[in-house]
């Protein structure tokens, strides 16, 4: 490194930990560039796991962990990864992280592990993970990549949690396993009964809720697909 560039590097002030640009990395995927409703990625798991709030929450936390960390790790390695085998390298890293998540759940949250086992494994094939690795982590610095992964995973999380909220409420009459419908019925006396909608328990219900979210969101943001 020549003295001139060294000086330049010294003069340039360090970017704050959460500068405007970095905040945008996190906030953009929440609404304007949401991985589920705008990029239409990760639909499979948002249909499958969202029948109840609790497993959905565990799934969301797992995805946040995997996406943020795999983005970070791949970004650290990005200059050494041979481009011809980069997808395999990415997959290997993601699969390792996912397996670790699954092992941790098995050790400390066995009931959750039993309920979610298939879907945790399927995080490996969640398009959001590979998508962010290819689109961002391969060409950006580790910290930025981690924030980007965090943003995308949070964007995914709030969508699946919203879907799960309505599916559990209308399909099973409860939220986080608390029988809300029964409490409400109780207020109005014995004859009053809120009907549950069986459609909401099936993946079809998720499609409907997801469609409604996309509709509302695109009406607000004015986003049009080209």
């Amino acid at each position: 490194m020549s003295a001139e560039t060294l000086e330049k590097a010294l003069v340039k002030p360090a970017e704050p930990l959460l500068s405007k640009r970095r905040k945008k990395l996190i906030t953009d995927p929440l609404i304007d560039d949401n991985p589920v409703t705008v990029q239409v990625l990760g639909i499979c798991s948002s249909l499958a796991v969202t029948t109840q709030m609790q497993p959905t929450l565990v799934m969301a936390i797992s995805v946040i962990f995997v996406v943020a960390l795999s983005n970070f790790v791949i970004s650290l390695m990005r200059n050494t990864i041979p481009s011809r085998v980069r997808i395999i390298v990415q997959l290997a890293v993601v699969a390792t992280l996912v397996t670790i998540v699954s092992e941790i759940l098995k050790a400390f949250a066995y009931d959750m592990y039993k309920e979610l086992s298939v879907f945790i494994g399927l995080i490996i094939t969640n398009c959001i993970v590979m998508g962010r690795l290819e689109a961002f982590a391969m060409g950006n610095k580790p910290y930025d990549s981690m924030l980007d992964g965090l943003g995308s995973a949070l964007g995914y999380s709030w969508i699946i949690l919203t879907v799960a909220f309505f599916r559990e409420l209308w399909g099973s009459g409860s939220v986080f396993g608390i029988p809300v419908f029964d409490y409400i019925s109780g207020l109005f006396g014995d004859d009053f009964n809120l009907a549950k909608n069986g459609l909401m328990v099936t993946p079809v219900g998720a499609f409907i809720i997801l469609g409604l979210i996309v509709w509302v969101q695109r009406t607000k943001t004015g986003y049009v697909e080209h």
Binding site: A48, V49, T51, Q52, P55, T80, I81, P82, S83, R84, V85, I88, V89, A92, V93, T96, T99, I100, E103, I104, K106, A107, F108, Y110, D111, K114, E115, L116, S117, V118, F119, G171, G198, V201, T202
Partner: protein, 251 residues
């Protein structure tokens, strides 16, 4: 340089080794906790067939272990209902999933006996393990029979990979409660087991061999039916022997 074959091969090899070490390391470190969680889960499932789920959920792991030690005794039988005592087999150690691959007449069949506190003679119910195939993967469970050796006292069901919200509902206490009080033999003494029906929301309270189904999970329901029928068949000799013993004692 990064595009050369040698680099790619060495890179892949090193990556494989590092990730492999990470995985086996985490499995090693977490292993004891996982074993404990699995053993505890098994005890909870066995107990789930005789006491209700809320009670078990309220217990700490230590309380579960204590309660199990105080109230459950066990034995292992073969397909003819004879107790196997030699070879130091213990019912807790029998791995139903592994045994399942053997022909039915070579398997070991554990029986868990729920008795009054401190008195192994005073039997309250017999608990039998179940194992079979659901829609995606294995399903299993425990069924308790009251001392008439016919009436179901309770059932716990578990699964490896049924669809959450659909087939996975077999783990819900509301679904499992549908089996309580049903009978596995008809009046002539022939094995009927209990069949979960297709569709949900019908009333089968008058039929001792049918229970309401799970909407959207008919194949899982069929798996449960086959499992029940098969395992009650495997235990039939033992069950019959116990009930005739009772009849003789009653005379």
């Amino acid at each position: 340089m990064q595009q050369s074959n040698t680099y790619i091969i060495v890179y892949s090899a090193v990556l494989t080794i590092i990730l492999g070490l990470l995985l086996s390391g985490s499995a090693q470190v977490l292993g004891p906790w996982q074993q404990e969680a699995i053993a505890l889960d098994k005890k909870k499932q066995i107990l789930g067939a005789v006491i209700n789920a809320e009670e078990i959920a309220a217990m700490t792991p230590e309380q579960v272990n204590e309660f199990y030690a105080a109230r459950i005794s066990s034995t292992v039988v073969d397909i003819t209902g004879k107790e196997i005592t030699e070879g130091g087999v213990s019912a807790e150690k029998v791995e139903i999933a592994k045994d399942y691959k053997k022909p039915a007449d070579q398997r070991l069949y554990p029986v868990f006996i729920y008795h009054a506190e401190g008195n192994p003679e005073d039997v309250e119910s017999y608990i039998f393990p179940l194992y079979g195939a659901g829609l995606w993967d294995a399903i299993w469970g425990y069924l308790s029979l009251e001392t008439d050796m016919n009436t179901i006292g309770g059932i716990t069901l578990a699964h490896a990979a049924e669809t959450p919200g659909l087939g996975a509902r077999i783990t819900e206490s509301e679904v499992q409660a549908r089996y309580v009080g049903k009978k596995i033999f008809d009046e002539s003494g022939a094995l009927m087991a209990v069949q979960m029906q297709k569709g949900e929301g019908k009333d089968y309270s008058s039929d001792p061999h049918k229970v309401d189904g799970m909407s959207g999970a008919t194949i899982t329901g069929n798996g449960v039916n086959n499992m029940l029928k098969a395992y009650m068949g495997h235990y039939e000799a033992y069950i019959k022997a116990k009930s005739s013993q009772k009849a003789v004692a009653g005379l």
